[in-house]
């Protein structure tokens, strides 16, 4: 599978990158680590005229302390850096736990946080070679007008298949986006649109420049559980991230549960904080939240595993992660 011919532009400043994006509109695609873009290019899922390689932009790198004790992660921070960061391990363990499950070591060395948050949605009918898709006549997301997952529907169900986003949702993270009109900051939950075709709230002329972790969620207990067939390489078939703040007497003060790979967006389970805050651990309560997690997830046949099993695992992982976080701290 060859790559379509495109020009590679290598801006060294954010402004230059924004200009390239604005000038080329839909003809430009951002490339960071390339671990998602390159396979998609090889499958001819898009054929941009210009690849805007943002790796030379130095200010997008690294983990730094920002205003109000927040932690700023540059969009180019690699997943390997995240997994190996003592600061993140100590303060935001759920993110480390999730990042460590992404792909395999090779992709984590190349793959960036920005790329992971802007990943294309995935579907069994979409992530196929050009030849395969042509034989089928395309799908709603690409070159066709039929959804093979939910025929008759006009909505694309391609699954959000990233692992770091659910963890960041449980940390109340914000994304910083830069475009021709300057910078804006958005709660991560508002960045995802839950639409397989139009996955993120990002303009054609914008890029993600940073992720901010607020000081108030530092130190929260957290765990990420992921369903996959192999312990490496595989994208999530389902994933659950949990963070908890539990006081000395064992009462829950803050709680977040987020799920991934079972909807076109990573989603917070709304009931979790509502039901858990102010409560002590009980198996029954945790079970109730786990059920709410299932109701939030709508897995369809976007992958080879069955939706029934993925739903089961969402419930199991939610229950298990809450139990572990509550009883053992950061397991």
């Amino acid at each position: 599978m060859t790559m379509p011919a495109s020009r590679v532009a290598r801006p060294s400043t954010i402004e230059e990158a924004v200009r390239l994006l604005a000038d080329n509109g839909p003809e430009a695609v951002i490339i960071a680590g390339g671990t998602d873009v390159v396979p998609n290019l090889q499958m001819k899922l898009f054929a941009p005229r210009v690849l805007v390689d943002i790796k030379p932009i130095r200010v997008l790198q690294g983990i730094t302390i920002a205003a109000a004790g927040a932690l700023r992660l540059g969009a180019l921070t690699t997943l390997t850096e995240i997994v190996g960061s003592p600061l993140l391990q100590a303060s935001y363990p759920v993110l480390v736990s999730a990042a460590a499950t992404i792909a395999g070591p090779l992709q984590r060395n190349m793959g960036t946080l920005g790329g992971n948050l802007c990943l294309e949605t995935r579907c069994l009918w979409y992530n196929q070679s050009h030849f395969w898709r042509k034989a089928l006549g395309g799908c709603l997301k690409k070159d066709g007008d039929v959804c093979h997952v939910a025929p008759g529907g006009k909505r694309c169900w391609a699954a959000w298949s990233g692992d770091s986003a659910p963890a960041l949702l449980t940390l109340d993270a914000e994304v910083e986006i830069t475009g021709p009109r300057g910078r804006r900051r958005l709660p991560l939950a508002q960045f995802y649109l839950n639409d397989g075709m139009n996955r993120i709230a990002l303009g054609r002329d914008e890029l993600v420049t940073s992720v901010y972790l607020p000081a108030r969620t530092a130190g929260r207990r957290g765990i990420y559980h992921k369903l996959r067939i192999r312990d490496s390489i595989d994208y999530p078939l389902a994933g659950v991230a949990v963070t908890l703040e539990v006081d000395r007497s064992g009462v829950c003060r803050e709680a977040r549960v987020a799920i991934t790979a079972v909807n076109p967006a990573p989603l917070l389970v709304k009931e979790a904080s509502e039901w858990l805050v102010g409560q002590r651990y009980s198996a029954e309560l945790v079970d109730r939240v786990a059920h709410a997690a299932i109701r939030t997830g709508k897995p369809l046949t976007t992958s080879a595993s069955t939706p029934v099993y993925r739903r089961e695992m969402v419930r199991l992982f939610a229950r298990r992660a809450l139990e572990e976080a509550w009883k053992n701290g950061n397991a």
């Binding site: 395999g104 070679s129 395969w132 192999r230 490496s232 994208y235 080879a304 099993y309 089961e312």
Partner: protein, 144 residues
């Protein structure tokens, strides 16, 4: 589901090159392991749904257990220098060995490949249902 260790003995007649024979045994066990637990071609109306190695999942190093190979030499009078074969012999035995290990561990028999956690869960539920049915008053039990 994790396979912790596989011990494979193979009668190759005469090991002309013992290290190669061991390599063949390990390779065969690995292939059998993949077929037993993960590898599957998923079809939909004649279309192969997982034509790449991302979705057709061969075991990674993390799923591959320690393999202990035992060479059995029986000296075949018909074969060259007493040798028979060291091809894929150990592959065939690996699959039922894993299926039996699962039966030994959780008491359910899965008769289709690959043996996924999903199938085991379904079989366990089915077994539970049958047991509940058999224990219920007024029924006179199942076959097992």
């Amino acid at each position: 589901m994790h396979v912790h260790r596989i011990i494979a003995a193979h009668d190759c007649g005469k090991a002309l090159n013992p290290m190669t024979v061991e390599g063949q045994i390990e390779g065969s066990v690995y292939m059998g392991l993949g077929q037993a637990l993960q590898e599957e071609m998923v079809w939909n109306k004649g279309r192969l749904m997982n034509p790449t190695l991302l979705e057709y999942r061969i075991p990674s190093t993390l799923e591959t257990p320690e393999i202990e190979s035992i060479i059995v030499e029986s000296i075949d009078p018909e074969g060259p220098f007493g040798a028979k074969e060291a091809g894929e012999g150990s592959l065939a035995a690996t699959i039922p060995a894993i299926a039996n290990a699962i039966y030994d561990a959780v008491g359910v028999r899965i008769n289709t490949l690959p043996i996924t956690p999903e199938k085991i869960l379904a079989a366990l539920r089915e077994k539970e249902k049958q047991r509940a049915g058999n224990d219920a008053p007024g029924t006179n039990g199942g076959s097992r």
